[in-house]
Symmetry: C2
Subunit: 364 residues, 2 copies
């Protein structure tokens, strides 16, 4: 390893130190659904258990992917990521667990500035699962790969006894290549930066809730699952001054903004009126009593960019199908450090913290 993030060893350690000083303590004796929510309980489990035990500088970056060079070669840096998918139900409007598994890992590579190249696919199947459903999921994965120009090059299949899984779980890992001189990380936001959201939020979470029969609504809401690699490529053609990129999945936009605020030791101030939400989604969220900012998306990203390029990046994003509803929703400020503030349309301001657990479990 020779370049990229490793150059900033001191900085990495200081961020790790900063997080350690405020590190949550894991008090739970048993795993609860909240630990899988993407909210506070998940972050506590990760920081107080996994990062403590596995400790190394790349993991301590706490980004959605690790970035490294091989043997100090002057070639491009490599991004590497993984995600398991346990969504229920496995088929839903707009996609299925397979499409989600491919796009999710593509997006985790993409938000490091990498071009996704190769994926792995590992299946945990429950005895009795219909082979036709497996074929349908695999076909959907192949289509998603074709759209993004990636290939599934290695895999694994395990079967567990009936009643010991829930039909089908999929893990994908991915390898991508960072060709541009970018340095994108949740720790890189700076006061004055603009915060851009790539489009309407909450569609994925609400589509799953409706598919599950958990909400009595006839709304026409489909998951937004999509590969964001072409959108990010268009953004990076405008500027390399993209400081943070995160896809807003579990825990929604609020979790992503809180991670950035905490890791960058800054505040983020959002203008609620500028956050794009479709009417059907807003209505569904109101029925469930959930803020759309807490709801999972599978094809939306938050970008923190230098203030000087905010408008140019926005224009480029809006020319892309997956960015046509992009908006600048706020900016980064010095204080109060580590906090996300929301200006409401009624002139108020409130702190938007991560939820402890998830109002919508098994969303991905």
């Amino acid at each position: 390893m020779s370049e990229g993030r490793e150059r900033k060893q001191g900085e990495v350690v200081s961020m790790a130190e900063r997080l350690r000083s405020t590190k949550p303590i894991l008090r739970d004796e048993f795993i609860t659904m909240a630990h899988g929510s993407g909210g506070k309980a998940t972050h506590t489990l990760i920081e107080a258990l996994f990062v403590e035990v596995f400790r190394n500088p790349l993991l301590e970056m706490l980004d959605d992917q690790a970035v490294f060079s091989i043997d100090g070669h002057p070639g491009p840096r490599i991004a590497f990521t993984t995600d398991s998918f346990v969504v229920s139900p496995i088929f839903f409007p707009g996609g299925d667990i397979g499409k989600l598994a491919v796009n999710g890992t593509i997006n985790d590579l993409t938000v490091s500035g990498a071009e996704p190249l190769y994926l792995s696919a590992s299946f945990i199947l429950e005895e009795g699962f219909p082979v036709d459903n497996l074929r349908r999921v695999a076909s959907s994965m192949a289509e998603a790969c074709a759209e993004a120009g990636v290939a599934i090059v290695t895999g694994d299949t395990k079967v567990v006894n009936r009643g010991k899984a829930d039909g089908l779980f999929i893990n994908t890992a991915g390898v991508g290549v960072i060709r541009r001189p970018v340095d994108i990380s949740a720790g890189n936001a700076k006061p004055g930066d603009k915060v851009i959201l790539s489009g309407n939020i909450g569609d994925h979470g609400m589509a799953i809730m409706i598919a599950r029969g958990g909400i009595d609504l006839e709304a026409d809401i489909a998951s937004d699952t999509a590969p964001l690699s072409a959108l990010v490529k268009a953004m990076l053609e405008v500027t390399t001054e993209v400081h943070c990129l995160k896809d807003a999945t579990r825990g929604g936009v609020v979790s992503v903004l809180n991670e950035i605020a905490r890791h960058s030791d800054v505040a983020i101030v959002i203008d609620e009126a500028s956050v794009p939400v479709r009417n059907e989604v807003r209505a569904a969220c109101e029925i469930l009593g959930i803020d759309p900012l807490h709801v999972a998306n599978e094809g939306k990203l938050v970008a923190v960019v230098d203030r000087g390029v905010g408008e140019d990046v926005l224009v480029a994003m809006r020319q892309h199908p997956y960015g046509q509803h992009a908006e600048i929703i706020g900016e980064v400020t010095e204080e109060p450090k580590g906090r996300v503030l929301l200006h409401t349309p009624f002139g108020g301001t409130r702190v938007m913290d991560m939820l402890v657990g998830d109002p919508l479990p098994r969303i991905c």
Copy 2:
């Protein structure tokens, strides 16, 4: 991509064609435990469904890892692999699911000739799983990483409702680097080559069976789970004429030999008397009526090497703790193509085919 396996595009296609001509048809309507066995049913599922749908030259190699170069850079080639682990019970003599998950992925990288560098770790947890057990598993993963000099650099955590998983499933993926001018693949065995087994077989499978209470035996048998990277490094310091390497996990040594015979379009003839098996393991296998050659190992490999270097490689292996019981167990012949033959101590010869299913499910 520029070098290594890609140079042999024609050869890859011809192997894919050869497999296609004998390709099994998937007739099952539902997934059964046999599809996860590592035997014939698993290979049918992989070849008739996943390879059909995901089709690409790297996947069609059907090795335990994909090998590629990045952007045609003249730097070292990259190996990439994944495995999910669903072993039951998760703690057993000689290890646990975490140690298995780290060593398994290290070994899948290692058998391409790669030096393992970075792993991902993804956890699917069942609601109610004890946090202390998770900490114990994670610590065991960290120890296994330290022994092999690899780091877990990225991860994921999902939680499913009580009754929708079996405590804990782990996926690891891995990235390694191939620095030597080797070309190791199940398709590279040549008539005359020597077949080497790195040590005593059957320990892992029998340790799991005893831990499960599935066999009424007080034998002192522990899993052989171990990282084989240092052993393979020692072998490759002797010669680059290592043609095939496979760790003999699910399906045992017989599955590995059949894969090599089929992919290389050769026969493999094994001398049963030369296969090292510990007495306790042989006794346990006899009680269960299973041939040790069908039982899973987690720290043993099969190597097919040029006949001229067979003895030198064996000597190097025996100097290593994980290769001290290595033996030359047979050789590669022209005919009967695609078959594995076993010479018994009584002067007979029989065909050793893969089993359709697994006598010992959820072994890894």
